[in-house]
Symmetry: C2
Subunit: 243 residues, 2 copies
Amino acid sequence: MRIKAIVSYDGSEYKGWQRQPHGNSVQQAIEKGLAEFHKKEIIVVASGRTDAGVHALGQVIHFDTDLTITEEKWVRAMNRHTPRNIHFIKAEIVDDEFHSRFHTTGKTYEYRFSLEPFNVHRYKYCTYVEKKLDVDKMIEAADVFVGTHDFTSFCANTLIETPNQVRTVNEISFRKEGEEWVVTFSGDGFLRYMVRMLMATLMAIGEGRITKEDAKNWLEAKDKRVCRFNAPPNGLYLKEVRY
Amino acid sequence: MRIKAIVSYDGSEYKGWQRQPHGNSVQQAIEKGLAEFHKKEIIVVASGRTDAGVHALGQVIHFDTDLTITEEKWVRAMNRHTPRNIHFIKAEIVDDEFHSRFHTTGKTYEYRFSLEPFNVHRYKYCTYVEKKLDVDKMIEAADVFVGTHDFTSFCANTLIETPNQVRTVNEISFRKEGEEWVVTFSGDGFLRYMVRMLMATLMAIGEGRITKEDAKNWLEAKDKRVCRFNAPPNGLYLKEVRY
């Protein structure tokens, strides 16, 4: 039987999603929990990796099991066997064909930043920007990236591993939540570091270091060398995965 | 020269304020930082201890130094030499007579709790209550504790170490910040566990386990055995210390 589950985690306490030889990864923590009550090894597949420090509100995973437990009890069982910084929200029994990585049709990320003074209780969950940012300029420039584009300039994937770097971004929107800005990125898929590189480019525009025109030129250049910006991981959340 | 400083810290990463033989305490982290640029040991005195897991927004400390640095540069120097989870907000050169513990005239604490579903990014900063709480009942009951009372029943100090357990609570007020409730406790001073025991008692009233009358009787009993409740440390913040 295949189980699909939605899971949130505090990325500040892990070296990213993926299993590491000596590392503390979210995948290992979940697999360890599942192994505890399956009494055997269970391999978990996620919709995609998240890097060290990156958070999840709605990461989607799947795994195969021969235990027959109700969906509600799956959530409780998994939360009992994983640390508190990993929290399962939902579990579903799905068709054996379902694949959390190969069948995604879209993802939404959020990026949190703040222009307020550094807050010791929030810095792992929000990027504190010491420089002045003109957020209106950032909002205005964001439409450069919306639509279907070749994002070669704004990701870390090599063209050998990922020959097609064309992706569709449906939405980049800004909202204020208390003292924090939350930027929503929605699209059919995002390349490695793509959200953080787009975010950092928008921040450079807000700072006045580059212009909207520069961003446009960089996008058209399809050149890994043009964008040197990468926003810190702590502000990034994988919000939702669609199928 | 004596320096008074205001410091915030993430209590979830420390075993409390006080120096420990094998522990990771806030005091040790600050003293280590000060020793780095003084090239000698510096002893730091705080307005009071905070327990493991308890946060500070405005803890006040003092120490003596022979370095002549401007007040602004003190803040920067201390932030450079302490981990990011400890953050200095202000420093002041004060009279040599000033004492951060003995001269306090009042303190304010905040306690955060939430009735919303568990949030993996907030549980170290807010207490998630799974039971239903009638917050109106809690607000209504809080006035039992306001005023000058003998808080023997609501603290962990023995009567030998602290013969006088009379304190004045000026304010217990509730406000909502997003999904979290924030309860402010202001008074001339608080005994060990006092805020957490009062908070837990109010929660028990909100839950319907005890009544406002019970709380009143417990207060009047001046008996260490009556109150068995203690709210978790993670929701508690030392907000302000007055002199």
